[in-house]
Amino acid sequence: MTDQELITGILNREKPAIQYLISTFHRQVIKTAYHFVQNMDDAEDLAQDVCIEILESAKQFRGTASLSTWIYRVTVNKSLNFIRKNKRKQLVRQFETFFSNSKQPGTDQNPEPVTENNSLHHEENRCILEKAVNLLPDNQRIAFVLNKYDELSYKEVADIMNTSVASVESLLSRAKQNLQKKLISHFSEYANRK
């Protein structure tokens, strides 16, 4: 089914077209939303919002970009709006993360060695990175998440962000510099606490 056929089917509210849309794109939408909001329940709720938005705005799809790119754009916008609206919820999560992070190194008298199989450290590392990524400016964060987590090429990221490949390269470079600074500062604090 081509993008245009799918859009026509969606506009006519044809069940097979809607089923095809969901079966083809649900994985992409849920994964991308999850990479931004880092919660599977919220990601599934966002996927519903994204699908409804696609059904409601299908007539605005002009076909200048691929349907997949358009769906990525809707997902990223919905996810960022969700994050802005749920700042308080995020603060509580960060608060919990902060305490779980500060408790482990400080209170543990015999810290476990860092190994790849150690899921506790793996989860801790995931939290450290998550926290650092959340502190990035929106455009750097979008570029980083789409490129690193969604494994999209610079060109694909540029299409989704409606910008040039050079801009994406620059955003990613700045995102990496910022993350590097934040992570090194975190490691230094960790070493000082030890």
Binding site: E44, A47, K148, F187
Partner: protein, 148 residues
């Protein structure tokens, strides 16, 4: 010390092989001889490994079925007729407001029609008020019974 600074400034690029081969050789040599930088690189690599965990994330089982069900429910609700007439979801609040306003207007019209007989409570006698409001005359006996 200078190599430590270079490593800190290019850590991400170094670990992702985005630096020149000569710089990589230099930094590899430095990391092999500096325990602080070796530890930093180890910690950094562990954090970067968690990116892999992010990329491997998969939707939960039956996520597609749940999503399809929710979308079908949404489509059904948006098509549900209001008072027997098919009304678009966006128009529904307006339609409900109009119906409520009409009901209020009818209520006011009926109310003012009934209350057309204005009673001047300051000058009307008790008998006149009772007559206007269709209240039967009370007797002293009624009053006494009430008091009992």
């Amino acid at each position: 010390m200078n190599d430590c600074k270079t490593l800190r400034e290019n850590l991400f690029a170094y670990r992702e092989n985005e630096i020149s081969p000569s710089m990589k050789v230099e930094l590899d040599r430095h990391v092999a001889s500096c325990s602080t930088c070796a530890s930093l690189v180890q910690q950094f690599d562990n954090v970067l490994d968690s990116v892999k965990a992010h990329t491997d994330v998969e939707p939960r089982p039956f996520a597609e079925t749940r999503l399809l069900q929710r979308i079908e429910n949404y489509l059904e609700n948006s098509r549900k007729p209001l008072f027997g007439f098919p009304v678009r979801t966006s128009v529904q609040p307006v339609a409900i407001s109009v119906v409520l306003m009409l009901a209020m207007a009818i209520g006011i019209l009926i109310g003012t029609g009934k209350a057309g007989k204005q009673i001047n409570l300051t000058t009307a006698t008790d008998r006149e008020i009772r007559r206007d409001l269709n209240i039967p005359e009370t007797t002293d006996t009624d009053f006494l019974q009430f008091n009992e």
